[in-house]
Symmetry: none
Subunit: 402 residues, 2 copies
């Protein structure tokens, strides 16, 4: 991990770095020889930045590995995702702003529908809307388990997050969602002996939840998964000397940002323009701003090639407002590829654009796209090296050795 | 580090490898869209080699890291510079040809001017010329410190090198140069407890030096810095099976070459033609010749774009004399970038040319330059992998596994 050799090289310079992540940006042609989503998109602003700056492509985890969003973002933030495993429960809890300290155990929860035999008939409780779930979360909050404190927060629709606090807890617990209807929720079981007591406490909480929800027509059961603890990662301030902020719409990305010490910026709206406006507003208070665009990934997952093209174009159209603040370094990339053709995350290298007027080495590339990035001056590199490049181009690093 | 897997693969073949390093070769355009120094230079011979051979670009240390000359050369020599830290004192002593064995502690010394209160008025003693410093170094050589032997050698102008030999010495000592005038030289202090005794011995030597220089008008004091010991690196002969020679003008590069077991070739003159003539002269006695051209870096540091272009062109013009000796492998590269635009070393990838008529894979590139190297067939790779490529193209490695 680069942190070890970067930290002693940090200087006192102030400069602004922006990391703009279009989730799942990388794509594939639908027809042989055709363009990818990014190549098909009309992106005059990104193309200008590509011509002025340097292109390359990142390997999110290691060659051939398709990442989830958590590890993919950790890598872009400069943390080796093979060294730091962050459970989904931790990301969920952090994403909705719950306090989450080392030693606490978090999990993601789903409301589900159980029949009179206790078998699941709907794993998502009929996808009950957020406002219908809110009073049910209140019921869960009233549950007491001796010896620990349990906090619950609503996420979206049928989802909630749970955090258990106490002494000697362990996150080595198996999911209780059987991943099928017609089966009962599984009991919480320990995957390592040290977690036996924690399993017992969570089972006690689930039994109380069943009782509290018994009279509900749809959401009369719960499942828990992604048990996790805070991996205690070193924070942006200490490893990079950066005051860092996160501008994101979705909880998960706020969560992973908090884990590395970013402040999450509250703002209204969901569009790229809204996000850029939020970044512009907090500009003077931070050295590093991570901006997350979710919809590229969603469109890719839906297999919607044209929809993904449109999202990319909407980001490009909104970009001038961000450029007006004159970042010293701007990185535009994805956390991984989500080709519409595959309808899922993939392992392909991810287009990477680095624009840093003071110091960049221009290459022969003049448009932002997969083929251009494959021949870009930055070459192909691990996503976890991106922060090193950003700090260098922001002139924030001293020379190594004499 | 590649050594571990290279060593068992070495065969008995004889073939000649030349590593031609143009210090600080990598550059940047001054105008957006303009050429770099290397791209601007008229280099018909290098371009021919580029067309026949393969191009690529190296990362000296890790992405984003700007190297000093020591670690940058260690990397090109195939040693991970993060694993081997070589202090400046060691490089200085080796550079002027002092014997320097594991356990010895070396430092760089400066003559300085002290006022009657012992405060520094000139940190470089008026930059006294080399011939004026020589008799002063003789005075320092006469100093005796009980229990150890101290050797002193002149470097250039106001600089000298000191080596202390004895039992139980430690290099964990802080610099004595306060980096400002109007302050006294600092005493030598230990940065780790094991170095307390060594600090005492050096302070004793400094006190005697002050006495010996007391009547000097300008050079009446000394400062010491860059305390270092020989890191005991494995040598070229054992790790690569190569009899290696260094052709360089500047002491530092001779020093780092000696650390890895190269013989330093004495020769007259300073021009690329002189260096190539020296290489040609010792051709039959060595398997590997490292040739170091300093002036590309100096011009870059001075911000002299055209000057750097001219140095590159002078190397190109002299090249036929080297090619006449028919190296089996010729690498032409830099240890790092020193863009005239930045007037300093930088972290950018470094152009790399590999020419090996017996075995190279030509790529589509036909001229030696940054943009061409970014698209070259060797890709982007760590500088510490260059020796592996050289040995392979020299057909000096056996197959790995069956």
């Amino acid at each position: 991990m680069p942190h070890k050799y970067l930290q002693p090289l940090l200087n006192e310079r102030t400069s602004k770095i922006v990391l703009l992540v279009l989730d799942g940006l990388g794509g594939l042609p639908v027809e042989p020889g055709g363009p990818t989503e990014l190549e098909a998109a009309h992106t005059p602003h990104l193309d200008r930045l590509a011509a002025e700056g340097s292109l390359g492509q990142t390997i999110p985890i290691r060659p051939g590995i398709t990442p989830g969003s958590g590890p993919a973002h950790l890598a872009l933030f400069g943390y080796d995702p093979l060294a730091y495993a962050v459970g989904r429960g931790a990301l969920s809890a952090l994403g909705v702003g719950m306090d989450f300290a080392p030693g606490d155990v978090a999990a993601r929860g789903n409301f589900c529908t159980l029949d009179q035999n206790g078998l699941i008939t709907d794993r998502r409780a009929g996808r009950i809307p957020t406002d219908e779930a809110a009073p049910l979360v209140e019921k869960l909050r009233a549950i007491r388990v001796p010896g620990v404190r349990v906090e619950v927060a609503p996420v979206k629709e049928y989802r909630f997050a749970v955090v258990m606090r106490g002494e000697g807890l362990s996150p080595h617990l198996a999911d209780t969602d059987p991943q099928a209807t017609g089966k009962p929720p599984l009991p919480v079981t320990a995957t390592q002996p040290e977690a036996e007591e924690t399993a017992r406490l969570f089972n006690q909480w689930i039994a109380a939840a069943r009782k509290a929800l018994a009279d509900q027509p749809r959401a009369n059961g719960v499942t828990l998964r992604g048990f996790a603890t805070d991996p205690g990662m070193p924070k942006y301030r200490e490893v990079y000397g950066l005051r860092a902020a996160c501008v994101a719409v979705y909880p998960m990305y706020k969560g992973v940002s908090r884990l590395v010490g970013m402040d999450v910026v509250p703002f209204e709206g969901e569009s790229p323009a809204d996000e850029f406006a939020a970044a512009a507003r907090i500009w003077d208070e931070y050295d590093f701003i991570f901006i997350h665009i979710k919809k590229t990934d969603s469109m890719g997952e839906d297999g919607n090639f044209q929809g993904k093209v449109k999202v990319i174009e909407s980001v490009d159209a909104a970009l001038p407002a961000l450029l007006e603040r004159k970042p010293d370094v701007l990185m535009v990339t994805g956390d991984h590829a989500t080709p519409a053709r595959l309808r899922s995350h993939s392992w392909h290298p991810v287009p990477f654009l680095l624009w840093a007027p003071a110091s960049h080495l221009p290459d022969a590339q003049t448009a932002f796209g997969e083929r251009a990035c494959a021949r870009g001056g930055l070459g192909t590199f691990l996503a976890q090296e991106a922060m090193s490049l950003a700090l260098a181009h922001a002139l924030r690093l001293k020379k190594y050795g004499a």
